[in-house]
């Protein structure tokens, strides 16, 4: 069977089957939006965590590190409970929409961005502290400098976040509902088609998912390679 499934998968990709393209589109849109939101919140938060001493800081660091391993189904369940009709945010009507999926994936990506940013910025702050303090950049005023100078390491952190978002199935399945043409993503479609026995579609989606991940990684790797050469 696998030969024919593989051939069918390739023809689906090359013919740009509209349903197939739609699924890829939803996946990318949801995961990239989640990474973007997590970056905007997580990078400054990680930098603050790296620089500011406060009581309970070590506890926060351990919790954030632990949350990097948060099971997607648990994140999905929590978001489901928040967004369901009777939940505290039920009035938003987000459940079973891409918005709910973005929220769930943001929760999954955020700890990665915060934890990796903290690690990078902590080392950088140690190195830059005297100079930036001398220039009057103390406290949060130093954050833009630190994030900018950590940009290549942060690109890797965002890649890791994108990897987690695009690969997970549990959270988007629970809060998105795998509705065809609306909230169906590559991972939920693979799970569904495999269980239905339609291996061609599952395999085709798997190939696309892998290829996209590879392309995005190559792009970021290449960009930071070139960038590093200019910056040392």
């Amino acid at each position: 069977m696998s030969d024919s499934a593989f051939a069918a998968a390739l023809s689906m990709i090359t013919s740009l089957d509209p349903e197939f393209v739609g699924i890829v589109g939803v996946s990318l849109q949801v995961s990239l939006t989640a990474v973007l939101i997590a970056a905007v919140i997580g990078m400054p938060a990680g930098a603050l965590l790296a620089m500011k001493p406060f009581p309970g800081r070590s506890v926060v660091i351990v919790v954030v590190n632990a949350l990097m391993g948060l099971p997607p189904v648990v994140a999905g369940l929590v978001v489901y409970l928040m967004l369901s009709r009777s939940g505290p945010m039920g009035g938003l009507g987000f459940l079973f929409t891409p918005a709910a999926m973005v929220i769930a994936q943001t929760i999954l990506v955020l700890p990665i961005v915060i934890a990796l940013t903290r690690q990078v910025v902590e080392d950088l702050w140690l190195e830059y502290r005297d100079h930036l303090t001398s220039l009057g950049q103390t406290g949060s005023a130093a954050i833009p400098t630190l994030l900018y100078d950590a940009r290549f390491a942060l690109a890797i952190a965002l890649l890791a976040g994108f990897g987690r978002a695009s690969a997970e199935v549990g959270a988007v399945f629970i809060v998105g509902g795998n509705i065809a043409g609306f909230t169906r993503t590559m991972t939920t479609a693979i799970a569904l088609e495999t269980s239905k026995g339609d291996l061609a579609v599952a395999l085709g989606l798997g190939i696309v998912l892998l290829t996209l991940t590879l392309l995005i990684n190559m792009f970021v790797f290449g960009a930071s390679r070139v960038g590093r050469r200019y910056v040392g």
Partner: protein, 242 residues
Amino acid sequence: MHDMPSILPLAARNLVFEAEGKRLLHGIDFAIARGDRLALVGPNGAGKTLTLRILHGLLRPTTGSVLWGLDEGKRNGRKRHAMVFQKPVMLRRSVRGNIEHALAAAGFPRAERRERARDALARFGLISIAERPARVLSGGEQQRLAITRAAALEPDLLFLDEPSSSLDPGATRQVEAMLEDLHNSGVTLVFSTHDLGQARRLASRAAILNKGRVIEYGPARDVLEAPKSAEAKAFVAGDLLW
């Protein structure tokens, strides 16, 4: 710029610094007048770096005070003293980027930064490496960039911690020429060094520190050629004090 009121004189009054129950500075006193080139000399651990950091405002003394002639070392709200550290801190940017960043942090408007950075690069002969990443420069180039970056801020006073401790003789000469140039343009210099030759070449006044105390202080010639105290005599003669 030097027609404007200066932030100098600067006086250190009985500076005491303690960390983890240990007293590292035991009442440091001296005064720095406009145009001085003060060398803080002494062995490692004498308290030279600590004194510079306190004067520059990076550390708060446990007791004692740092008195500026003008508004905490500021003029029109802008800090008028800068510091070059022993190990130059190089941002992950180009040579020009490093200077423009410092100017931005100090509050210079965007339009002025390019021009000031270019002037500073030209003045100290760094134009040819302006676009190179700062972190791949040689040690001597990095130190010259660190001094150029501080000079671009047009400080009244520049603190330098061991400005040439890890440099070869050629790079040391270049750094010393830059300091002469800065002094000639009216910048007051306060630098630490464990190199007595450098202190003799550059300083107009000198303070010998040992174990957190000033053991000799005055005009460089007197302090470095004919010190009064036995301790200072031993140090200048090259005997180990530690």
